[in-house]
Symmetry: D2
Subunit: 390 residues, 4 copies
């Protein structure tokens, strides 16, 4: 969003993105909005309220005179921290909160959206507010992806295996053999330097020295992953990090998330319901330990994030977040911004691993080849995949 | 329920009790039906489904030819155990299940109720089925009480403190001084020996030898409990069981459940919302450790369940489940019945403590002076109170 | 201990009991004194120090003028609580404390024993002190039993299976069929009323009403318990309390403690090392859940503690602590004594189960038929056994 | 160790290193060898046995014909894994094992050392064995450092605060102001390329691109760290990683390990016992979260490991392991060796952070400027310090 974008474009962009979140939730029953099966998953109604709270708290309240908070209590429902109001301390466990109701949260969205529209067309919408607006919209898009991952988890862990949508799905074509693309040793540049929005963790553009490497032209398929499983991949400690091996044993891990072995056949819970595994599809919902173990079994490795970014223009990426072997750490010269916005990324730069690319759950236009996604190494509920390097 | 009860009475009794469960839920939002803040609390929709499953599984399915199960999958949603169906194992965490929806569960109730009505009026409703029918109805009543305790917990742990109902509540009158009623030493009889329904744990009528004892004519009030708190009751280990003292320290306990110290005043979450403490009301929502510590601080003790039953006709009981100092153990000659019904009570006869009486949440006519309620000693979410003895 | 016991007897009794504790430890390596494999087991050196601290703290310090504490720091090593000395807070995890050394603790014992001898022969040893002296000696005897149970646990959980002693052990003779002894219904008296020492929890003698019951004349053998195991006792939930069944599944329980299935044979770690199971021996090291499940499988039950005490003169007891189906609760009129001694028993009267009799690890003369031992229902490291009733 | 080292040198080097481990333990009581207060700390006797087991298992057994294993059972005591011998499965919790005794372990060391001496002088000691011998000696040196850190933890968490040694300690001189040394942007080389031993994780020498950076010429002192504490460093979330802030709150963290606030003064447990803080000394025993928060408070950052290595020849390093902001990851071209030795380093390359340099507990000659030490970010028991960069 640059200063020369017309107000009407801004209003439309805001409205489109906000509407998309609600479209994602359209197929849900009220009950689906409420539950939180694991701590990493948030209830859909919380996502809808939290993104709204972001616009209210960081844009309307400080910048729009006479704006009246929708409900002062929502602050400690939707900011996800412990709160102390006077002597009353209540832990807001997201999955235990039946109120505010879904209906109340949609009212909250209407209220904030109406005020945002007026605000965006007013003289109070100055250039100084634009970065926060862009951040708020990208924040909403991040939660759109989380809505999909979390809805899949909620429905996919229900014994009735309800479908989220019912579209015909065509079997994927055989992707053929993997080709390894070669890249020569030398100094490269990575990091964001374009126009438009990026997160602070993508700044600034800087040099890295890469040694000769090769990168697979496509992602690992279910067929290949099944070969790993059938070759005893989950029972041979040599392919695993020590921490990964502990994870395997403690969780009795033996397949990607959402795979169920029923009547001598591997089935896969998808957003269209329980289906047979599509062997040609890129494997999905594996964690970093599994991705690394698979690569070791293949005699390869995962790429670093710098290798991935350099190679990205030669790759067909976007269907899976691709695990790298890079820890999530600050780029040279990284600076946290002051205030609450400064907390956005920097504070998570320890013990997390970088994923690159995007997934089929990522909103269109949200990602780019400098985007740095990151998660803990044991998590599987994201649409994650494997690309090999050596 | 005795053989001479007319069919029309049976049908009406069934309909009345079933309807009452739904009336309890009438004030709820859909979202309130779904959540499970702690393991002891079940989501209201689970209670509605589970009680229905009881009639379907134990009455209709084995006794009503051609009855068609509403949904075979409901068995492992509503029987509260781990289930293995083929190679598919899913843990049915009650609070994580958004489906079946509330609407589906009400359809389930309609379906079962309609079939039950036909069944009760049919020739298949034999005398052999009556005990199970009675058990099912009493089981539903037990869950009616749990519906109220659990709804209170769900709403009372929401930071918005929504009210369940909004009735005017009159302050209670001062109950005056406690009188101690004396009972002489001797052989007494306890246990059920009347007509009508009782649970297996109340059988059989048997002799016990009681020594001289005295029993308070009324329950301990909030005023008295507040005196205990202000006298440092929660910080003086001498009044507590060792296990209770550990509980105090680990939970930083300092008041009954639902009490909040706000702006220098003790407030109480009630079904009518957050209110000032009514000092004349019987103290509620304390666990066994707290009841025992209070009694010790008063230089008294809790009654045994035999003392309570012998004294009961002289007591005004029914507003609070009264903690006894009796462990929940089998009466002489206790026999588990064969089959699933035999699991009803006997398997819980270890490390639980008996409560006697009834509470304001107990459905009318459900309890009696031989009724043996029981819970773990650390639990507070029931409508529990204290009666002193010495 | 009555007033007419001569001083020389007192001195000898004290010396004998104190010496016995050290004799129990004589076969140990220094290292064996130090470790604490589970929280229920204490390191032998802690037992030796703690019992000494009892005499120093409750007898010498308050009653013997000019007595000088051996080491003021020992107070927070040997009293087993958290301690705050100024701003310094250290948790004294017994099993992590290498100091005081075993040698220092024996010096501590010498020091206290020498002062106790002088004290007992002095004018300061008044009648008022006698109850505390008796309590201290019985306390030391309780820890003698714990020394044996804990040493067995420490050595029996070492992969080298070191023997504590190496005596020839003769196979037990076949005990023959069990006879059930009958006792008629009526009012009986239980509780201590003899001369000599008893614990406060055995007082006072009081009446109980018992219904007709039968009691086995001998304990359940390893042969019988093995039949239970081989009949699938650990896999049939019907015989277990709900809580016991959870325990079975969580711990993958399948045999008594110290049993190891090696090379197609059940072996048993004993104080003489790893040996074949002696089928004629009374089964040992089972918890309450297992004892109850075995009784249920046999179509019988465990006795109550009142039944046991009434029947005891007809029983051959003393080799195993016998699980009863009685919760550990106060007798009518039970009074906690004031001060630290009052904490001895009463504070444990919740969620524990009574064992009656004595075991082969109990010091001679320590127990009696009114003795009330108690443990949590999941514990197996005591020398516990099963006697059936019905 | 290169082929031209004479056998007599080898024998001496082996003997010297082995002797040093025992010298470290000379001041201990037997009891100190046994305990394990936290999982990261191993009992000293385990270190002595485990390093011996390494030589026996990887050198003597496969290379020395007719060598007889000292005790086959030691394998599952000293290799630190779960073991299955027939149907017997015992978890060898290191801190619960009183046997083998300290005396037995010294016998084990004698036995292996005597055979190693004979082996090293024999024709079986070929060049092929040398890398393993070097690894074994470096492995022993690593455990020498752990012996010191673990002994400090064991004694420093005893309420008696026993001293490990009693040497006069001179106060440190004031180190003066910190100077920041500047390094220009460009391509540098890091990684091991010298003669002699290195670990696999230091290979191979490779290029990295560094941007302009500055590095402090000395470590942060206790005085500076105390300023951070007194300025509220532990209560201002803005300086902490989200994960670090959780750690602070859960552990109520407020100072380095071994600091105790006693009588209004910060005291420090050292190997010479409890002493006043030496303000001029480099701060020690802080974890990565604390090091990062301190750097943030100073408006600086921690160096990367590449920066540290490039700068190292200009630094006075060796008294503290210096936290870097680099995750422990493989260098380009890293290859795991085959077999058990290959497990040495690579399997830990996830969720750990690199420390560079050496500490006062590191054996002389063991470290070098390419050495990559690594630990979890929450651990404090190593001799860790802080060097600032920007």
């Amino acid at each position: 969003m640059t200063p020369n974008i017309a107000t009407s474009d801004l209003v439309k962009q805001y409205a489109d993105i906000r509407k998309h979140s609600e479209e994602i939730c359209a197929p849900l029953e009220i009950e689906d909005y409420v539950v939180q099966p694991i701590v990493d998953v948030s209830p859909p109604k919380w996502h809808l309220g939290h993104t709204t709270w972001f616009f209210e708290t960081f844009i309307l309240e400080p910048n729009f005179p006479d704006y009246k908070i929708f409900d002062p209590q929502y602050n400690f429902v939707f900011n996800s921290y412990y709160e102390t109001i006077g002597a009353r301390v209540i832990r807001t466990d997201r999955g235990n909160l039946s109120r505010p109701s879904v209906s109340d949260i949609y009212k909250y969205r209407r209220y904030v959206d109406e005020h945002m529209k007026i605000f965006l067309e007013s003289r109070f919408m100055t250039e100084a507010v634009e970065p926060l607006l862009e951040l708020g919209l990208n924040h909403e898009q991040q939660h759109q992806e989380l809505l999909i991952t979390d809805i899949k988890y909620i429905l996919g862990h229900n014994p009735l295996f309800p479908a989220y949508k019912s579209e015909g799905t065509l079997p994927k074509p055989d992707p053929g053999n993997t080709e390894m693309i070669r890249f020569p040793e030398g100094v490269y540049e990575i990091g964001f330097n374009g126009e438009g929005f990026c997160f602070d963790n993508e700044l600034g553009r800087h040099k890295v020295y890469l040694h000769n490497f090769e990168m697979a032209d496509r992602l690992v398929t279910n067929r290949e992953y099944l070969e790993f499983m059938e070759a005893g991949g989950y029972t041979d400690f040599r392919h695993w990090h020590a921490e990964g091996w502990d994870w395997v044993k403690q969780n009795n891990a033996r397949s990607p998330l959402y795979w169920h072995y029923i009547d001598c056949q591997w089935m896969n819970y998808t957003l269209n319901g329980l289906q047979e595994i599509d062997l040609n599809e890129a494997v999905c919902h594996i964690n970093f330990y599994e991705a690394s173990a698979f690569a070791s079994w293949k005699g390869m490795r995962l790429p670093t994030e710098a290798e991935w970014e350099v190679a990205s223009e030669h790759l067909d990426w976007g269907s899976r977040w691709e695990w790298t072997n890079s820890a999530y750490l600050p780029y040279p010269g990284f600076k946290k911004e002051a205030g609450a916005v400064g907390e956005y990324n920097g504070k998570f730069m320890v013990n997390q691993t970088v994923l690159r690319g995007a997934s089929e759950a990522t909103p269109p236009g949200h990602s780019r080849n400098t985007y740095r996604n990151f998660f803990q190494t044991n998590l599987k509920w994201q649409f994650t995949g494997i690309r090999l390097a050596r």
